[in-house]
């Protein structure tokens, strides 16, 4: 059989279709056990086929089966194991397979937990899976090449990082999970069970919040730690794409909690559940259809699935609207005519939901700008200013609410009863404002964020502590809110008070920047995969404290013949601020050339000088000693030398990289004449060496200046980063506790 992967994927589609049909049958004949078993078995079959297909793809990748286009495009034989694994989801096709896989496993869980709502829930959930499987067949990871290349193209260096390994799976679990509250919502409304679906779907909604949230945060963390631009969020369409369903999901969770307690917002929650799910598809459409290709740093290629994605969205939008219209009148609205108390937890929560939805719509508008404007005039995008200007007031409002609403009870509250409880909040606000103003007035909006952020932190910290003492699970919400407050304080600190300075560091000399004395000790090269990593040790001193920073630049041969460079910063974390050192540019320096011929030889090239013929055959890295901090990195060059046409002898001059000259770099040339060859330069990325010939026939050439190696580094102090990450961690931890809290017994 030629392509088992495609066959299995086809079988999976058949299985999911069958399962859906049986669930439709079950919808009309509730009692039919046969139909129920058939539906479940088909779904289990679907899961088995998808799992088999995934295992097959992983098998091909791990075994370097380059007959498959996907394997050839995203992996190579020298890739370390963990990156081979992550090559599975490095490209479009594989990531779809991952999404379907995760969805299928979640579906098994759902199948057992949905109980009486099972037929409808699974039907809607399956509809989602049908579409994804169709997309998977259209964009198959099992496409074969006419002939298998000897090696793959390898995984992009930016993806070769542990955080980038886990980021996509976590995000896809989140995407897959958002289908579940939607499925429950449709099922509940269809079956006229307007409240039970909320109780069942709530833990799933929180699960989706936690997983997608974790994925987003990991993405930001990777960006900060690895990319070297010093930021963690760029408002790029791909980033925003994952944020939109998450914000909508957050609004949904609040609405569902409100519905559980006060039996309100039934129709709103249905719409929100649908909205968050459809946003997942919309954002997949934005990022995978190529419509934003010219407006984002992320490379997009139109893979021809745009039409299907649009259909996907339309179908679900129609389903949602249809169910809403058909059932809307039957939805009981409790407390009609009863005025809402403004000073109540309900009102606060609804306001929060409105703010979150507003933010979702606004960010969605900005992200979709190229699409919208394309239809009107020229395709344009909005700058990052747009997102900041519009979301800052919303953040102020949200933090304002967070500073006292969680203290309110359901129903009416009195200001006088509330005031004494606000001490911690007020205290937090005062501290935050004081600290902020000490560092400089940042503008009124940012100051307000700081003030209410501090209040939210203080108040929710108190609440969290109090609730944890009663019962840990009760503190989930307070922990999340506490985390949100911390996160915003961290964002304010790192955005408004970020300071940096660029400095030129010639090797061996001390220069100062941002209050630190820095000395570049000299580069250390080590070959890695297809390229060369230049580690750039910097001795950093401030007062009594001293440490060595190791930013680095990795370079490899790019496709156009130009070298590609990837730089990594060094980050010293502190509780108050991070010291961030990013290599902006690196000049390896030029060696002195004596009054003799210097020849540059590319690998495989031959040069003739006097009576010698020299061919550079390759690097010899057997003498590399890879100890941390050791300066004994030696790289040799194998040079075949033939004297007057005789049998070539292979000479192996070796240089100790990082030092300008070494004893072993000079070798005597074969033959009776007194001639030597000195290895003076290696360039791994272009695979050339520079050698100097000294002996008879050498011409007296101009000496060239020796220039030392140097690094241009950007040294930044970023306050509040640790507070930021702590805040995000607490959001995820609190959310996870929330899943446990809401899990139905």
């Amino acid at each position: 059989m030629n392509n088992p992967g495609e066959l299995i994927t086809g079988l999976a589609l058949i299985a999911i279709f069958a399962s859906s049909l049986f669930y439709v049958l079950l919808n009309f004949k509730q009692e039919s056990r046969g139909a129920r078993t058939a539906a479940r078995v088909s779904f289990a079959g679907f899961t088995v086929f998808v799992t088999l297909a995934s295992m097959l793809l992983m098998h091909y990748i791990l075994n370097h089966d380059y007959r498959y286009s996907y394997v050839a495009r995203y992996s190579s034989t020298d890739l370390p194991l963990q990156y081979l694994i992550s090559a599975f989801w490095a490209g479009q096709e594989g990531s779809f397979l991952l999404w379907v896989l995760l969805g299928s496993w979640l579906g098994i869980l759902l199948m057992f937990k949905a109980r009486d709502l099972e037929p409808q829930v699974m039907l809607v959930f399956n509809l989602n899976n049908i579409f994804l499987t169709i997309l998977l067949i259209k964009q198959s990871p099992f496409e074969q090449l006419v002939f298998a290349p000897p090696d793959g193209q390898g995984l992009n260096m930016l993806l070769q990082d542990p955080w980038m390994v886990i980021h996509p799976p976590v995000v896809f679990v989140g995407y897959a999970a958002f289908a579940i509250p939607f499925a429950y919502a449709v099922a509940g409304l269809w079956r006229r069970q307007y409240d039970t679906w909320v109780r069942r779907a709530l833990p799933w909604a929180v699960f989706a919040f936690v997983t997608l949230g974790a994925g987003i945060i990991i993405g930001g963390y990777w960006s900060y730690k690895v990319l070297g631009w010093g930021g963690y969020w760029g408002w790029d369409p791909v980033e925003n794409a994952s944020l939109l369903p998450w914000l909508a999901g957050t609004a949904l969770i609040h609405g569902m909690i409100l519905q559980e307690t006060k039996k309100k917002l039934r129709k709103t929650n249905f719409v929100l559940a649908a909205f968050s799910f459809i946003l997942v598809i919309y954002c997949t459409f934005l990022t995978r259809s190529g419509v934003l290709a010219d407006f984002s740093v992320h490379s997009f290629v139109d893979l021809g699935i745009t039409g299907w994605l649009v259909l996907f969205m339309l179908v679900f939008t129609v389903v949602t609207l249809w169910v809403l219209v058909v059932r809307a009148r039957g939805v009981p609205v409790s407390g009609k005519g009863e005025p809402w108390s403004y000073f109540s937890r309900e009102f606060g929560m609804v306001t929060a939901m409105i703010l979150l939805s507003l933010s979702t719509v606004i960010i969605g508008l900005g992200t979709s700008a190229p699409l919208i404007t394309r239809m009107m005039e020229k395709a344009s995008k909005v700058s990052t200013e747009f997102y900041v200007n519009t979301n800052l007031p919303i953040a102020v409002a949200v933090l304002f609410l967070l500073s006292f609403v969680p203290l309110l009870t359901w129903g009416r509250n009195s200001v006088s009863r509330l005031l004494p409880k606000l001490t911690w909040g007020v205290g937090g606000a005062i501290v935050a404002v004081a600290v902020t103003l000490i560092h400089g007035y940042p503008g009124i909006e940012v100051l307000l964020v700081s003030m209410f952020g501090g209040a939210a932190v203080g108040m929710n910290l108190l609440l969290m502590a109090r609730l944890m003492r009663k019962k840990v699970t009760l503190s989930a919400g307070a922990m999340v809110h506490f985390g949100v407050g911390l996160m915003f304080l961290g964002i304010v600190a790192s955005s408004a008070y970020d300071r940096s300075e660029k400095v030129l560091l010639p090797q061996g000399q001390v220069r100062s920047a941002m209050g630190y004395d820095i000395k570049f000790k000299g580069p250390e090269f080590s070959p890695e995969g297809k390229g060369l990593r230049a580690r750039l040790p910097l001795d950093v001193t401030q007062g009594d404290a001293q440490f060595t920073a190791w930013p680095d630049i990795f370079s490899e041969q790019g496709r156009g013949g130009q070298p590609k460079r990837f730089s990594h910063p060094e980050i010293r974390r502190g509780f108050v601020s991070d010291l961030y050192i990013s290599p902006v540019d690196f000049d390896p320096g030029r060696k002195k050339t004596g009054p003799a011929n210097q020849i540059r030889l590319k690998k495989g090239e031959t040069a003739r000088i006097h009576d010698y013929e020299l061919t550079f055959t390759g690097f010899d890295v057997s003498g590399m000693m890879g100890r941390e901090g050791s300066h004994d990195m030696r790289v040799g060059a194998d040079i075949a030398v033939s004297y007057k046409g005789s049998e070539p002898v292979v000479l192996k001059p070796v240089i100790t990289v990082g030092q300008l000259h070494g004893p072993t770099s000079r070798v005597k040339l074969p033959g009776p004449e007194d001639a030597t060859l000195t290895l003076v330069n290696i360039e791994a990325d272009t695979k050339t060496v520079g050698v100097v010939y000294d002996g008879p026939g050498a011409s007296a050439k101009e000496e060239t200046e020796e220039t030392p190696a140097s690094v241009i580094a950007e040294v930044s102090i970023k306050p509040g980063m640790t507070v930021l990450w702590l805040g995000t961690f607490l959001i995820l931890l609190g959310g996870s506790i929330g899943i446990v809290r809401r899990w139905p017994k």
Partner: protein, 127 residues
């Protein structure tokens, strides 16, 4: 209508109005080099990086390079921010910013670099 609905509607509508205003004022559209040179608004220009023209100018504290668009028009671009990850291997570069008539250079606030279309491994794993 209930008072709370009215207040809510006012808040939402005013927020959307502010958002739309910000939207229009921050819209940057694609223009050609010649249009960029005379425009007073922030714009985006797409073109090829002229090989070998990029260097780091420590005096100006910026990355400097020459952008050449399809028609052959060229302009100098100055970018103060961090060098984008794949800058040296790019095919197409998009500069977002404004042209400074006096200095005769395009001051970019943002650089988008795109790698050859059949990109070997995309920056984000297809998210």
């Amino acid at each position: 209508m209930k008072k709370s609905y009215i207040i809510g509607a006012i808040v939402v509508v005013s927020a959307m109005v502010m958002a739309l205003y910000s939207f229009r004022s921050t819209l940057t559209s694609y223009v050609s080099v010649s249009e960029a040179k005379v425009s007073s608004r922030p714009v985006q220009v797409a073109g090829m990086l002229v090989a070998g023209s990029n260097r780091y100018d420590l005096k100006k504290n910026a990355l400097v390079f020459t952008l050449r668009e399809d028609g052959g028009d060229e302009m100098m671009v100055e970018y103060n921010g961090p060098k984008p990850a794949n800058f040296d291997d790019v095919e197409k570069v998009v500069s977002v910013g404004k042209y400074n008539q006096n200095k005769r250079v395009f001051e970019a606030s943002e650089l988008l670099v795109k790698c050859p279309t059949k990109y070997e491994g995309r920056v984000k794993g297809g998210a």
